[in-house]
């Protein structure tokens, strides 16, 4: 019991690994997304500075005294200084690209929009470009303003955004891991309750577990309870069998002892021979009784231990009838088989059911009146086999279900009752109006319509 199953694994470790993998993938995705978002947000923020400065400069361009003049306002440069670490360049270009004022800059790319990235003296820079068309009396043409900055502030902002996102993710991840550990512990708690409840039990205590468990674990408790119920049933059957056996064996053995004591004191050879004859016949009876007891123990054990398979009860009934005919050749004429046209499918152990039916047939032959009619048919939701004879039945009285312990039926009916209990079926007797007695076993129908086992 203490050996660990070979496929042992830790739920918690598994969950942690899966979570770590999810977090890793999530982290990579979030960092990619936040890097791209951070870059976009930073560009948007600092592009506004460039645009604002360019707008102020281009608005300061005037045409006066026959030439273009620019009186750049201080605020334009102060705006650019809001990116505190960035160097900036600017240029006001005339219609032919000639420099009116500002820095000597590479011309903007042909396909450039309002913003473009370029390199000036080996430094990565981002530029804003604005155009303004003049239609003065002395001057018609387009003025272009270029304002560009190094990218330190926007890179720093982008990095900050990315970092903030990653810190958030890291915190969320830590919380998730902690929650998972707690959740696993909470989820496994009912199992520990069950474990504690079972460990604390006395070995003979097989009462159903009654624990407040979530319904996910409830089925486990149910299964455990069913298992214990089955163990309890087997044990009680065994107990009963031992009690039966000792009871049933004690009388013939006591008789044998009495006869043999009688024989020891008997001087008359003739009477002695008679006594020995009685001893012999009692021994034969005893041997048959022992066979019956062992067979019954085997059958009941099978019924509890074997897996229940789909079987056709017609076939089981037929085999039982054949077995009885073989064992009791003189009874063959008295047995009638009445089988349904369709398969009568139930779940069960064919061997133990066959024994149960054989017992019913033998009982009918031995205690009832011929003919013995065996019927296998579907009966409502149940699949049934009935054994009917023309006799009065086991005992006058109400046609009630036959209890396992009913003494009148002898050993045979105990076997039938035990087998049916193990199959979850019913066993009862009835007296039809047409007379006679009918013993019926009924099993639940098979769950799936399968081909009968070969």
């Amino acid at each position: 019991m203490s050996a660990r199953p070979a496929t042992s694994y830790s739920l918690r470790r598994r969950l942690t690994l899966m979570l770590a993998a999810a977090l890793l993938v999530g982290g990579v995705l979030v960092s990619l997304a936040s890097a791209s978002y951070g870059r976009r947000a930073a560009d948007q923020a600092f592009d506004r500075l460039l645009n604002g400065a360019a707008t102020q400069i281009i608005e300061a361009v005037i045409f006066a005294d026959d030439h273009l003049a620019v009186d750049i306002p201080l605020s334009a440069f102060q705006l650019l200084s809001l990116a505190p670490r960035d160097r900036f360049f600017y240029a006001v270009l005339g219609p032919d690209g000639d420099l009116i004022t500002g820095d000597v800059l590479p011309p903007p790319p042909e396909d450039a929009g309002t913003y473009y990235n370029t390199e000036v003296n080996g430094s990565a820079m981002r530029f804003a470009r604005l155009d303004r068309t003049f239609s003065e009396r002395g001057f018609q043409g387009r003025i272009t303003v270029l304002v560009g900055q190094t990218t330190e502030a926007r890179s720093a902002l982008a990095a900050e955004i990315r970092q903030t996102a990653l810190i958030g993710l890291g915190l969320a991840g830590a919380v998730l891991v902690a929650l998972t550990v707690l959740a696993t512990r909470a989820a496994l708690h009912p199992l520990r309750l069950i474990e504690e409840a079972l460990s604390a039990r006395a070995p003979q205590d097989r009462h159903p577990l009654d624990l407040p468990v979530p319904h996910e674990v409830h089925r486990l408790v149910q299964a455990l309870n069913q298992f214990m119920e089955r163990v309890e049933r087997i044990l009680s059957t065994n107990r009963r069998m031992i009690a039966d056996a000792s009871h049933q064996l004690r009388t013939p053995i006591a008789g044998l002892r009495a006869q043999s004591e009688l024989a020891a004191d008997e001087p008359d050879p003739e009477r002695l021979r008679r006594i020995v004859g009685r001893i012999h016949s009692r021994s034969v009876d005893l041997s048959r009784l022992t066979d019956q007891l062992l067979s019954r123990a085997m059958i009941i054990h099978r019924a509890d231990a074997m897996p229940l398979l789909p079987i056709d009860l017609r076939r089981v009934a037929m085999e039982a009838a054949q077995d009885v005919s073989r064992d009791l050749p003189e009874a063959g004429d008295q047995i009638r088989l009445d089988l349904a046209g369709d398969p009568v499918m139930a779940e069960g152990d064919a061997l133990s059911l066959r024994e149960a039916i054989k017992n019913l047939i033998v009982n009918a032959l031995r205690h009832g009146a011929p003919p013995v009619r065996i019927r296998a048919a579907a009966w409502g939701d149940e699949m049934s086999v009935s054994v009917a004879d023309q006799g009065p039945g086991p005992q006058a009285g109400p046609p009630a279900p036959i209890a396992g312990q009913a003494r009148s039926g002898g050993l045979g009916l105990h076997i039938v009752a035990a087998v049916l209990a193990a199959h979850g079926g019913r066993f009862y007797g009835e007296r039809p109006e047409s007379g006679g007695y009918r013993a019926i076993i009924a099993l639940p129908a098979a769950h799936s319509a399968q081909e009968p086992a070969p």
Binding site: F77, L80, S81, P84, R85, D86, F88, T101, S123
Partner: protein, 371 residues
């Protein structure tokens, strides 16, 4: 090492000398600019040699150089003193071709320094000292504001023609209108010759609407624009000029320390404060030593030496007889922050327009040489 670098310097100087001044501006980089003075500090055979290219009078920085070298017997320093514009033109030329014949560029023309850093001529330097600087004195970890020097008004009490000494620009305006004896005896920087003069004048034009009327009054009063601070203060002390406007406070302070008649006024409407700014050129050979020099000037020891020289206006030592005592009211000081916004005054059109309106009113006198 030293020999090779001196050779490079000589070669460059030679190039400059070879350029023919008669020709119009050559299309390539212009290496013609030359330092006014060169001074050598420390053991010339020391294994490490720092070349500082500065627009800063050697006399003012000698104490800090000597304090720096005191703890570094393995180092020596060459200090070149340039005018701001010449220095700018030379460093720009070197930057264009990717060389650096100096390890540290140090100039009072903060806007020109910003321009060079903006062009990518500097390399970053980070240390606890530079990181502790406020953003206004540290741009990109490349340009550092070393000093705090005010643009002041300077008067000579002895020669001043009666009445109260003006404490701000409004009082100066009133005085100029009321006192014809000041005509031709007010001096300020020539913005064409002095980068720092140009910076102060342009910042004035941004600071207040008084600038227009100030310029107008300057024109009426025949203000003399000349170069440079030391010369102007010296002439005030001698009585040639009565008023100096927008004079670098550190130079005025040095004269006032020896002459109780010199009065320095931090204008109460606003006082511009200049951070003389330093950067390490990208191609500098002794960048580590240059960084150490920057750190020293920013350290407590270095700052104390700078304070003694009057290079930190917020903690000027008391002057005998001077109204400037102890703490300067903080709200009065308007530091010129080291940001790329300083490029505005250097915009071709802006500068041309500004110079035009200046020249329309102020007459420029040739450079005054020290006696």
């Amino acid at each position: 090492m030293i020999r090779a670098r001196s050779l490079l310097g000589t070669l460059l100087l030679g190039l400059g000398l070879a350029a023919t001044p008669a020709l119009s501006a050559p299309p390539g980089p212009d290496f013609s600019a030359m330092p006014d003075q060169v001074a050598q500090f420390g053991n010339p055979d020391a294994p490490r040699h720092l070349i500082i290219r500065a627009a800063a009078d050697i006399a003012f920085f000698t104490p800090v150089i000597e304090a720096f070298l005191a703890s570094r017997p393995d180092s020596s320093i060459t200090w070149e003193d340039w005018t701001t514009n010449a220095l700018h033109s030379r460093v720009q030329a070197e930057c264009t071709v990717g060389i650096a014949s100096a390890d540290l560029v140090f100039s009072s023309a903060a806007d020109l320094q910003v321009e060079l850093v903006n062009a990518g001529c500097a390399q970053p330097y980070r240390s606890p000292q530079t990181s502790a600087l406020p953003p206004a004195r540290n741009w990109r970890d490349e340009l550092f504001g070393i000093t705090e020097e005010a643009a002041v008004m300077v008067f000579n009490r002895r020669t001043f023609p009666g009445g109260a000494i003006p404490q701000n620009r409004f009082e100066l305006l009133d005085l100029m209108r009321a006192s014809p004896e000041l005509d031709g005896r007010i001096a300020t920087y020539d913005i064409g010759a002095s980068g720092v003069g140009n910076l102060f004048a342009f910042q004035d034009s941004l600071q207040a609407s008084t600038f227009g009327s100030l310029l107008e009054s300057f024109g009426r009063a025949d203000v003399v624009a000349t170069c440079c601070s030391v010369g102007i203060v010296e002439m005030i002390r001698e009585g040639r000029f009565l008023v100096g406007y927008n004079i670098l406070g550190s130079y005025a302070y040095a004269v006032a320390r020896d002459d109780p008649d010199i009065e320095i006024v931090l204008p109460s409407d606003y006082t511009l404060v200049l951070h003389r700014a330093a950067f390490i050129p990208k191609a500098a050979l002794e960048s580590e030593l240059a960084g150490a020099f920057i750190d020293f000037t920013l350290s407590a020891d270095g700052r104390q030496v700078l304070e003694q020289e009057g290079l930190i206006v917020s903690s000027w030592p008391d002057l005998p007889g001077s109204p400037i005592k102890g703490e300067v009211p903080a709200g009065r000081l308007r530091p010129i922050e080291l940001t790329p916004a300083l490029r505005l005054g250097l915009d071709n059109m802006k500068h041309a327009a500004f110079t035009r309106s200046w020249n329309a009113r102020i007459k420029t006198s040739p450079r005054i040489t020290l006696p």
